[in-house]
Symmetry: C2
Subunit: 434 residues, 2 copies
Amino acid sequence: MTQAITTQNQEKITAVKGLKCKECGAEYEAKAIHVCEFCFGPLEVAYDYDALRRSVTRESIQAGPNSIWRYRALLPVETDNPIDVGTGMTPLVRANRLARRLGLKKLYIKNDAVNMPTLSFKDRVVSVALTRARELGFTTVSCASTGNLANSTAAIAAHAGLDCCVFIPADLEAGKVLGTLIYGPTVMAVQGNYDQVNRLCCEVANTQGWGFVNINLRPYYSEGSKTLGYEVAEQLGWELPDHIVAPLASGSLFTKIYKGFQEFINLGLVADKSVRFSGAQADGCSPIAQAFREERDFVQPVKPSTIAKSIAIGNPADGIYALEVARKTNGNIESVNDAEIVEGMKLLAETEGIFTETAGGTTIAVLKKLVEAGKIDPEETTVVYITGNGLKTQEAVQGYIGEPLTIEPKLDSFERALERSRTLERLDWQQVLV
Amino acid sequence: MTQAITTQNQEKITAVKGLKCKECGAEYEAKAIHVCEFCFGPLEVAYDYDALRRSVTRESIQAGPNSIWRYRALLPVETDNPIDVGTGMTPLVRANRLARRLGLKKLYIKNDAVNMPTLSFKDRVVSVALTRARELGFTTVSCASTGNLANSTAAIAAHAGLDCCVFIPADLEAGKVLGTLIYGPTVMAVQGNYDQVNRLCCEVANTQGWGFVNINLRPYYSEGSKTLGYEVAEQLGWELPDHIVAPLASGSLFTKIYKGFQEFINLGLVADKSVRFSGAQADGCSPIAQAFREERDFVQPVKPSTIAKSIAIGNPADGIYALEVARKTNGNIESVNDAEIVEGMKLLAETEGIFTETAGGTTIAVLKKLVEAGKIDPEETTVVYITGNGLKTQEAVQGYIGEPLTIEPKLDSFERALERSRTLERLDWQQVLV
């Protein structure tokens, strides 16, 4: 089922050349490091694209498993037996009803709210990071998380039999805490915001010898997000869209979707095309949107305060790279307030039957805002990335979506309730008409 | 992407011959009816298997979409443009760590906890029922539900632009209520148990002219569960397993997995083979398990009282057919108590990273019980069906899975907490050893 780029005697073969500093270009071996010794720039995985061009074809990809591992040759691991729990290949849904509501013609939802196993795009990056962690000899894995990453690290570590300790802000949504504890890891609830959690984890990474998926394993981890680019291209019939809209937290997801598209062009898997990249943030934590608006080329850290906790990163590691992508592709970065986020969640659920978390509500609300501002052309093939599931942030919509009508198990009780609800609906409509 | 059994001029072609009474064999047109006029037996869809044998091959299936609609020819709809939101083709996970824990050799989890769009197997039956409802001209769809079905009906109706009114028992889990309301349907919370809800809905179905997916559309609806049989056979490389374990609520799922396997044999898609069928119920609602234990050929209705609310059907419509399948395949039907259900949920999460709801906990606990009783051979290729997601029944595990360790964002606070947790673990182990 995995791709056939290994030799018959199962020798490890990989196109990974090593790590390379994104800023100064210094090269390193593919170990558990993430910061350049010389300039403190972030390290990124470097590949031998000439070798990949010879071995990777549409057919070789399609012959692979129905998961992110169909793109194994383009991911930074050596094994041909990666941790595969069915992650990825989530549906690309043609969203006609939402499109009509917004006045667009060709809108798609890339739905990672049903990603496997823990219902967020984080399962992609964690599958890659833990596969690499195992190769590098780690027996304990860890992360600094706003919730989804903790769910994913704990779940996939459990499946793989790795010890796990995760760090979260103490004020997370109940569903995200319980959705981590269930897998039996050690959970550290830090009294502080995500940026404080992250700083603490950087210290712990230096002392404990653990594999932190988004710290010392970050170069491998972040590559997993490229699959969100690959899959959309493949699912559109080996074509790139015209415009994508994605949420911005650290900014990594955004830049890696871009990298995924560029690699597919580079390998001749899709025709060359410029794709516009637009990013979504919550007003309560919008350092990248602010920099975009003010035409700055640096990101000023902020203190987060928003219901969109999963994207509430006040000091985004890849913020400047996300800015760069939005600018050079003629995209935009916008932010919306908490009320708009809730409306975004409801809009997506009522038109498309997709229940997303606050981050997805943010993305839909920004999509709406961009359309209304004329910043998305109705003719553009637009793909919106939905990255997490609404069952994890139930608090956000409680009180904003009505209540059931309580009835007795009798026909007349039902009929009275139905009549009442229809009357209320008519009154609602009359108010709309007035 | 859909299967090519339509003619070039898009004339509707289907292998459906009509409906047929399961008891007396009386035949009916394929309309919105579910009970035989003559003997009150349940109606089932009848197909022209000779025609199907000529047109359906492994290749024609594999050329279809990556959803239940790759099996469109075997489903009771006419359109070649069904409601497809990516439902089905959920992962079949090789569960090595759970297998080792239980002493089995070849165990798989069919994971519908990540089914699309609403994280339960109900998305399969609802996709089929609403596609058929649209064909039959219904504009409002409805259901009697223990929660998952309401989630699914509301979501897929939203996507398809159908009006929706669902009926649930008033005491359902918060996640299931909210996970319905978000899509904007009318929700009737009935003060009674599921069997009372169901009786009320039978009356409403006669008066409102609505399409009730599990009442007047039940013959079509229930066929959707066959895909859980088809997919497992295809995912095992066009082979049947030796033994399956699935939860029993109405009993329909169980009998339709059986029907799916039989059809694949009949069509020559897999080799003939006998598969053992074992069923799981909760002690607090185990009418089918009781009948099995007491070797009765009738099911005595019970009043449900269990945390496994999604399978708490006291008067199961297909109970006797489920009994029949278990008996003729040399399977078993077992039940477990609420504490065992919670342990089952934890066991699956800790070994495989899959967070299932109470129904899945029931199935895992029954699996364990059957293995311990020597009723599953360690050599058997065993497939366990996990039908729903744990994020919807968070109440069930709250208080049984520990708490996070709260720390300050400082290295020494973390180190003290880690030391404490390791000491507690050692004490735990010492208690185990004493």
